[in-house]
Amino acid sequence: MTHYEDIKKHIRELFINQKLAVLSTHHSGQPYASLIAFVGKEDLREIFFVTPRTTRKFENLSTDSRVAVLINSSINVDTDFHEAVSVTALGNAKEINGAEKDEILGLYLTKHPYLEAFATSPTCALIGVKITSYVLVKNFQHVMELSIDQ
């Protein structure tokens, strides 16, 4: 397996097996991290999540759309240090509206059916992050980068 295929395989596995990710935004240079329930697109080009419009993360990404998203497979045990895989995705966030929204909400709710009331609330926004690159970390310190041409 090439490095490229290996990275893609790990990212896909994280997309499928992980429900939560950490989103990083900032406000006037002050970084801010928050937990999100996400879904990733099969082609790895985009990650989606839902947030109320009253949150800090929404306010921050409305001002600066550049974000980072960390997805990780650790389960809080010692073996995580050698077994867990993490990927940091860098990209630009944008609210999804219009015809595309229904399709993506469907994808989102297939993964998180219990969030239906939350995700369909008129006060929540569906956010898509177009990924520009992935940074994959495994075996504790092994780091590989994958650029995505959008």
């Binding site: 109320p52 949150t55 219990y114 239906e116 009331a117």
Partner: protein, 732 residues
């Protein structure tokens, strides 16, 4: 594991997959008892539904909005309502649906069924859940049977069942539900038999009615009663009753009907039949090695056993008593109708008359001793009505809940509170008061001179049109300076009213711009069109009952407020006499009684403490986002106005968010100014939520410490869809 098992397939290790009720039936079938045709839907079918539809986590999200022990019963009811609605709306996964359809059709081939709950954790706890989960009888048609299976599954999460599980320490996360599907045996005589009289171990008791057992079990049809000697197996006595009604199958379940005259004259059982039933109970007792409470029915002279369970009343425990209390939270339609008559025809007129009589009495002419006596008398009167409020008015509020469930079962709306639109067309006293306030506001708005005079605090010309209207308003609704439920001093003062009128006058009426509820007339028509014949009449009656219940939920507080205001006015008179003497430095022994009365009625010391949460690092803990219950859809942003005591209301400004411990109906006059409502008390049917919905305001209820975590002047956002409140931080 299979989704459906027949009684003869059951092995001991299946017990935790089908529940005790089903397991007992399977043992009886194996022993050759005559039971109706039966199948068991295992907990695996339930799990296939909740997991396939993503419901498990959704239920737990609902139940964990805050600590279960911190939820009021009304909030738990709201959770249960939302969960029940999800169960009604969610599609059953195709493989399960096809399997159920095929099994029901092939096994029961068009027969009507009884669909009963059988929860395994009932077994594990050794406690009885009888009556807490739902069962249905005489259900016809495969799709209706599958619908009723959902309802039995959903009843695992009913308010009473949730409270009871919490009480006996069961883990709600692990709850599962099995279902008994049983052919309806339409017996022409039915009853129960206690193989041992709970009050006399030498006796057997049989109770019997004509028709189905339902009437006897829920206490609506009085039974004939036989007492038998346990050892000699002989009838000791038979107590016949006035036989008037029986429960018979109807198109949509069962209904109570008048008993044909020839039957009313005949005992439902012969002595020999009583002995046969006694024998049946002995066999059940021998099988389960404990005295049994057995339900039976006779069809075409064949005796069927419907259900057998140990007699729990032999040793009543505290837990069982509590189960009875949880069950009492739910009232039957008949019970509510009787309550309505009492409330509308007796209690409300009595309250109104009491308030009027007290108001007409001139307390200024009473001697000091007489005044002290009068204060005590008024306290007793007030206490009597407060007790009546809890005992009669609060249970009557269940009429709204009962209708809500009925509406949701029929309409399956996306919003489980859509039914409220049908109730808001009623004339509520508080809304009439707010309309009168709008009239007064218009007068102030139009008349610049009047506006300036009120602003300058100049005395009012009582003979003017405005003065007359103000007097009428005060006579009817008080001057807004009195709270209903104590805690603040009641001083007759028109300034709070004028202050609010001025605020309303300088701001455009916000009522007109608010969204109106959707066309209630069409909605009502659509709802009633779901029913035909006697069912339609039942729906009309229930809607009428719910409207009355909804209206009274608010009005009763206002009448109660009027009575309390009269108590407070007597206390105020007493206070002013004592203070006047104390200012002069004189002593009068007759005043001692008055002084002690004032001490007893020390209103005015209930200012809530604001908790300043400074931590060991020297910083403050600030709330950012608080979760409560979504009680009125919408989103709004504004400055917080925290109401800690009643008089804080007079400072209320246009477009502020009202934050309070509990919206009192006498507090609702500021609602036309408000942009949103946040209340510590939780629930969809509390006053804050009702009034907010009425005015189309975003509302979040059930935020513990709302009045201490949020401060007047904070910038806040109320998300009434999700039930969250966001507090903006000024320093970021």
């Amino acid at each position: 594991m299979k989704w459906i098992l027949s009684p003869l397939e059951i092995r001991p290790d299946h017990r935790n997959r089908i529940g005790g009720k089903a397991y007992t039936l399977s043992l009886m079938a194996r022993e050759g008892f005559k039971i109706p045709e039966t199948l068991f839907l295992t907990v695996d079918a339930y799990n296939a539904f909740v997991n396939g539809a993503g419901l498990r986590e959704r239920i737990l999200l609902e139940l964990n909005r805050k600590k279960f022990k911190d939820m009021r019963w009304e909030e738990i009811w709201d959770c249960a309502t939302r969960i029940r609605n999800i169960f009604l709306k969610k599609q059953i996964p195709d493989p399960l649906k096809s399997y159920l359809t095929e099994k029901i059709q092939s096994h029961f081939s068009g027969k009507t069924l009884a669909i009963r709950s059988s929860a395994p954790d009932e077994d594990a706890s050794g406690s009885s859940f009888a009556g807490l989960h739902e069962s249905f009888i005489n259900v016809r048609g495969t799709s209706s049977i599958i619908d009723h299976i959902r309802l039995v599954w959903a009843s695992l999460w009913s308010d009473a069942a949730l409270l009871y599980r919490q009480e006996i320490g069961l883990d709600v996360d692990k709850s599962e539900m099995a279902v008994v599907l049983q052919e309806t045996v339409t017996g022409n005589r039915s009853g129960v038999v206690f193989s041992q009289n709970p009050n006399d171990e030498t006796q057997v008791i049989i109770e019997s009615v004509y028709g189905l057992n339902q009437g006897l079990v829920d206490g609506r049809v009085e039974p004939d009663r036989w007492v038998l000697d346990r050892d000699k197996k002989t009838v000791l006595s038979h107590k016949p009753v006035q036989r008037e009604h029986w429960m018979i199958p109807s198109e949509h379940g069962v209904e109570m009907a008048a008993l044909p005259e020839d039957l009313s004259r005949r005992s439902p059982l012969s002595s020999q039949e009583a002995l046969d039933i006694c024998e049946l109970a002995y066999r059940a007792e021998a099988l389960f090695k404990a005295p049994q409470d057995v339900e039976w029915t006779i069809k075409n002279d064949t005796l069927y056993l419907l259900q057998s369970r140990p007699i729990t009343t032999l040793s009543p425990s505290e837990t069982q008593d509590k189960r009875a209390w949880y069950l009492s939270l739910h009232r039957s339609v008949e019970n509510l109708k009787a309550l309505r008559t009492t409330i509308e025809e007796t209690l409300i007129p009595e309250m109104a008359k009491t308030a009027k009589d007290l108001a007409e009495q001139d307390i200024t002419v009473l001697s000091d001793r007489e005044l002290a006596g009068e204060v005590r008398r008024r306290w007793k009167i007030n206490q009597h009505w407060v007790n009546t409020y809890w005992e009669e008015f609060i249970p009557y509020a269940h009429g709204v809940r009962l209708f809500g469930q009925y509406y949701n079962d029929a309409m399956r709306p996306d919003d489980p509170y859509e039914f409220m639109n049908l109730l808001t067309q009623t004339k509520m006293v508080s809304l009439e008061r707010n309309r009168l306030m709008e009239d007064l506001t218009s007068m102030v708005r139009r008349d610049r001179q009047l506006f300036e005079r009120l602003k300058a605090g100049e005395p009012l010309d009582l003979d003017s049109e405005f003065g007359e209207k103000v007097n009428q308003f005060i006579e009817k609704f008080g001057d807004l300076s009195c709270a209903v439920t104590g805690g603040t001093e009641c001083a007759t003062d028109t300034r709070p009213l004028f202050k609010l009128l001025l605020e309303m006058a300088v701001n455009p009426s916000s009522l007109a711009s608010r969204k109106k509820p959707k066309d209630a007339r069409t909605q009502e028509k659509n709802f009633l069109n779901c029913f035909e014949g006697s069912k339609r009449k039942e729906a009309v009656d229930l809607l009428d009952l719910a409207r009355s219940s909804y209206r009274l939920r608010d009005d009763d507080n206002i009448y109660l407020g009027r009575i309390e205001a009269q108590l407070l006015s007597a206390v105020k008179e007493a206070k002013s006499r004592v203070e006047s003497f104390e200012r002069r430095g004189t002593h009068k022994s007759e005043l001692d009684d008055l002084k002690s009365v004032i001490q007893d009625f020390d209103y005015g010391t209930d200012h809530r403490k604001v908790s300043v949460q400074k931590n060991e690092y020297g910083g403050m803990v600030n709330p950012r986002q608080l979760v409560g219950q979504p009680a009125g859809p919408g989103l709004s942003r504004g400055k917080a106005r925290v109401i800690r005591q009643h008089l804080d209301l007079q400072d209320f400004k246009h477009s502020e968010i009202l934050i309070c411990d509990a919206v009192d109906p006498n507090m609702t006059f500021v609602i036309p100014l408000a942009a949103g409502v946040i209340e510590r008390r939780g629930g969809m049917l509390i006053h804050g939520a009702i009034i907010a919905r009425e005015y189309g305001l975003p509302c979040v209820t059930g935020i513990p410490d709302a009045t201490s975590l949020i401060h007047t002047g904070d910038d806040i956002t109320v998300d009434g869809y999700l039930g969250i409140v966001t507090i903006s931080q000024k320093d970021r």
